[in-house]
Every structure is written in structure tokens, then in C-alpha cells.
Amino acid sequence: MRSRDFLQLTGTSLVAHRLRSLLTALGIAVGIAAVIILTAIGEGLHKFVLEEFTQFGTTLVAINPGKATTAGTTMGVFGTNRPLTIDDAEALGRLPYVEAVVPFVQGNAEVDAGGRRRRTNVYGTGPQMPEAFRMHVRSGRFLPADDPDAPRAFAVLGSKLRAELFGTRNPLGQRIAIGGSRYRVIGVMESKGTVLGFDLDDSVYIPATRALGLFNRDSLFEIDVLYREETPVEKVVEGIRQTLVARHGKEDFTITTQQQMLDVLGSVLDVLTFAVGAIGGISLLVGSIGIVTIMTIAVNERTAEIGLLRALGARRRQILALFLGEAVVLAAIGGLAGLLLGIGTAWLLHAVIPALPVHTPVRFVILAETLSLLIGLAAGVLPARRAARLDPVAALRAE
């Protein structure tokens, strides 16, 4: 049989039962659309979270006190481990490929600016923080490169905190009290927004040594190291490890590269995308059962026709191909409609709720259409085989 005739013959039976064919295709369409929309949201979320992380740059390495056996950050100080100190940070800063070192202490304290008070995040950090985290000063300047052991009592305000404490007044040069100690405001940061739940704008930045005193701690939470892009990350990690082991006598710290964090995060998000995709897959499964049902009914209804075709010289394989073809065409039409429906809905979602990240990669589109073709094939196999195996004499008797 010529392939054009084959398609035409397949087409006539689908057209003869328009409504039925449409509804069956709709089942597949809904399934494909569900897969597209859900994975689009999953992928969008993936991109969104990764962008949140990479806005700090990817050439970052974090050192935390305590030894963790798995990749991840440990917060706080454990047991007999030696604390991470400002001196450790200074030592790391002397490594040749290190561009910036940021010691890091965080806590909560009351900030008092001439009567206006607010409890807020206090970050103890170093002068290189804006460089390492790609943050910018809007007015004044950031903490100066003072003697790290005895820095001057300067403070830099986040944009929101500045608005809360000073309104429209110029805060530069003003005196404030943080946890009872007096500081002079020397700068205001540009708005950075909320990053993973921490409002960086509702914060105040002071020298790390002073923050340690304020919170009565002897160890930094973390030291972040920004290294030169061309340096391989393994070399950086090894250099940091040797430096700190030499200072501490043992490996009582954990080094986490930004890449490791991204990898872990990425794999978690991949599982998430896969999970929502699987939920969409369930509706696709329901749609394919629809095809099995309709094709089974079609074979029953057209038993006499199958007998006739056999009598007219159709081989078993041709009968098989005809019914498989119908199932595949049904699924393909459904898949195509589902694609349009899915992409359209995803686009509409994004238009209505811009904050909801939506992303439809081309490979998903191709994958979805291939999947619907395969579903048609799989769903058509049983009914088509039944049709092909019918005894022509018995089939002709059916009416």
C-alpha cells in the first residue's frame, strides 16, 4: 500500500467518528499540557533559585567551623574544634589566587538612632564584602580596610533600615547605637532585596571583630573566599585546606565551593521537576487508556470491515499497520494540541503572575511530542494485534 493511501484510509475512519476522535485526542492533549505546564513551572523555579544563588558569583568558597562529612554548611561551633578567627581570614587573604576574603558573623540587635529604634540583622564582616558578593554602596563608603584586630566603630546601613531610622534625612556621619555600643554611619547600601529569606536591606554591617564582641562569640560563622576565575577550584580548596590545617593542627572546618552548592541544589530541583512532571504523566496515562478503549471499540465495530479487507487481499501486517496508524495519529494530534495548550497556558500564567517563573525548554517540547507518539503506539498495539489476528471467515460473519 502506498503511504499516502495509508494516511488517507486512516484519516477517513478518524473523520467518520469526529467527536469520538476529538475527545480521545483531548485526553492526550490534557495529559501533554499538564506535563508541559508542570515541568515549565518546575524548570522556572529551578532557574529562579539558581539565579538567586549565582548573583553572588560562582567563584566563591565558604569555610565553616566544624567538620561535616557530607557537602553542606554547618552553622555554629562544635565541641573541641578551634574557632575560625579573624586571623584565619587574614591568612587566607595572603594566598596568591584569592581576590577577597570576607569574615562573617551574624546576629540580631537593637539599633537606636536618636530615639528611633529597630531590631534588625547585624552582619559582622570585612571591607571586601561588596566586592565578593557583588553588592554596591549607594552613598558614602563601605567599611574601610582598618587594622582587623581593632577596627574603628563604623556602620553601613541597608537601604530599608536607613529609611526606617532616618526617613529622608541624610544618615551619613550620624551616630547610632547598636546593642548599646556607639557607631558612626559611613555608608548606605544599594537595595539588594530578600535573598532566600534574609532581607539584606533591613540590615546593618559592622566590622567582624566588633560583631564578635557584640554577640560575645569567639568564632566566625563563616569565611567566604572569592578566587580568581582562571584558577581551578581544586587548587583553591587545597590551598585553603593546607593553610588552615597548618594553623589549626587538624581539619576541623568544612570547605564548600559554590559549585558544590549549586550541584546539590540543582539535583534537588531536578528531582522536584521530575516529580511534578510525573504527576502530569499520570494524566497522560489516563489519556492513553482512552486510546486503548477507543481502539478496542473500533476493532469490535469494524470486525466485518477487517474481514472484508482480508478478503480483498490485505495482509495481517497491513491490518496491524492500519489500526496502529489510527492510534498514533490520534495521539499525535492530541500531543500537538496539548503542546499548544500547555505553552499557551504557561505563557498566560507568566503574563498574569510575572513573579511566577515559567520556562519551557525546547527539549521538553520535543520530548512531549515523541512521548505522545510512543503512547499512541503502545496504546494501539493490543487492539491492532487483535484486529490482525482475526480469522477472516469469522470476521466476515460479524455484522
Binding site: M1, R2, D5, L9, T12, S13, V15, A16, A304, E305, G307, L308, L309, R310, A311, L312, G313, A314, R315, R316, R317, Q318, P392, V393, L396, E399
Partner: protein, 228 residues
Amino acid sequence: MIDLEHIHRDFQVGDQFVHALDDVTLHIDAGDYVSIMGPSGSGKSTLLNIIGLLDRPTGGTYRLNGRDVTDLSDAEQAHVRNREIGFVFQAFHLVPRLTAFENVELPLILAGMEPAERQERVREALEAMGLTARARHKPDQLSGGQRQRVAIARATVTRPNVILADEPTGNLDHTSGGEVVRTLEALNAQGIALIVVTHDPLVGERARRQLHMLDGRLHRDVSGHAPA
């Protein structure tokens, strides 16, 4: 042309064997006009199905035009049915969603013939049946006699050398039935062998050679041939 030797066809119904055909030996000449008559269950339809390669004998040999076709594969049998045999059924068996033209075209489509050649052949076949004006009609827009003539056009479009008709007048009134029989006889007059299975003695007795079947055996062969 058709040589059946010691043909058996057994069916198993439950744990019992039914001998639908019991040692049938039969020779039919090219261009002959044969009717097969007999009561229900006498095996006449089974015989026709075996001649038409729709069914396989459980014993014996079948030669068609000198070629042993008893053990052909499914695809080979399909090819022989397509090229050498035309079928006419009691229930017409037209595909309801296709026009008369498309129904007649079906065997040629299955054979993979070029569309241009197909069109010409179908037009000729329909014209021979006086159905040119009905070519674009669907079966449900045609009368019973017209439907059977479409089916005959479909049986002849491949230019077979035998037409097998199973109760071709069974679903028709007397007038259309007579018309269909005359149409088939006209084809026979052109040299196509015609084998008709029928209940109706008025139809059966028109044939040059009349076979009567009983309990799976050839009971009587009226035409001078002695039953085997």
C-alpha cells in the same frame, strides 16, 4: 483451474470434532458457471471459503491454476486473493464511510497501484455496472441492488479469473436479485468463472453445473461429471 483433492475441514467444537468438509474432491474448469446448493451446515460456505483462500483445509491439497496453494503463507494467500479471486457477499460488505468509487478502489489501493491507473480501472468497473452516476454516493444512499452491483464492481476491478459469490441475492428482493444474477452471468459470459453458493433453487438451477452438498460431502453433481 480449481483442483481440490481429498479436502477435509474439521472444526473442534468443545471436545467434539465436526467434519465440515469430508473428503471433497472437485475440479472446476476455467470460465465455468457452478452453483453450490445444500441445506444449512452442509459445508457449502466452508467449501467456498477454502476455494477463496479465506480458510485452510485440515487435509488434502488445493491447486489453483496449476499451483499448489494449500500451504501458502498469510501474505502469499492475501496476494492470491487480491489478484486472482473476486468476492461477492450476501451482506455486500461495503465500507459505510467510503463512497462507491472508494469502495471499488479498495483492492487496488491494497495492491499499491498508482492512483492514475486506479482511477481509470474504477471508472470502467463502475461504468460496466451502470453506476457511473452513483460514484460519489455513500452506501447508505444506494438501494440494495445498487450496493450489490458496487460490490460486484469491486470484485471485478482487479480482473480476477474467478468470482466467488456467497448468497449474492440473499439480502435482495426478487427484482434486484434477478438483476444481480444477470449481472454476474454477463461477467461469466466474458470468461470469468463464477461459483455461486445459494439456498435459492431458482438461482442455483441457472448454473451450467450444479453441486449439491450434504453433511460435508458432494452429494450430487448435475452436469455430467460424476461426484468423486
